[in-house]
Amino acid sequence: MKIRVQTEAFDLGAEIDALRAGRLDVGAVASFVGYARDINDGSDVRAMTLEHYPGMTEKALGTLADEAAARWTLIDATVVHRVGRLLPGDPIVLVAVASRHRGDAFAACAFIMDALKTRAPFWKKEETPAGERWVEARASDDAAAARWADKVGRPD
């Protein structure tokens, strides 16, 4: 499992090449990239700054990846999350999961993203025409994460 927190952009293709390198038993790679949008909650967003809790962040992401590896049959996974100031269109987060079969890859990738959204210590501050504002946590993210509790395989 590769876990990184960084200010620089990442290259999805290169990350997935590294994830698969030398493994001819990989039949499936599911991946997700989250991007900064130019609008949120009805306001224009000119930029955002991502703050995190160094030390706990890496530990929390590692825990999520380990939970996914315990729950599904995975070959490897990569999680990269950026911090610092980002502009609309910039990639924020990458989760990529390699497995033999697609069901495991899809489920683990969605699980890691849902868990990251509620358990990894990152916070977004947006720059809007009305000034700066901290993004509020969404009830829909708690609901998405809760789908995975006490379930085997895919959520409802």
Binding site: Y53, H81, R119, P121, F122, W123
Partner: protein, 83 residues
Amino acid sequence: MTLRMLYFARLRERFGQAEECLAFDGATVADLLGALRARGDAWAEELAAGRSFRVAVNQELATPDTRLADRAEVAIFPPVTGG
């Protein structure tokens, strides 16, 4: 005991500091929150019952009954919004 306190995001701004060393006589996270609320102002307001915040002890999410030990690293922050 002495705790290393960390504050993040909106709470860092509201409390006007990112970290501090805190001498503390209680036993649990609940005791600690009571001591911080007693500072009044933003502390009383942001840490009031019913407000939404998280506490991590030694970089693991904690609950009100989590026990604290000397030199623990305790972080208080808003619900997370990464990803």
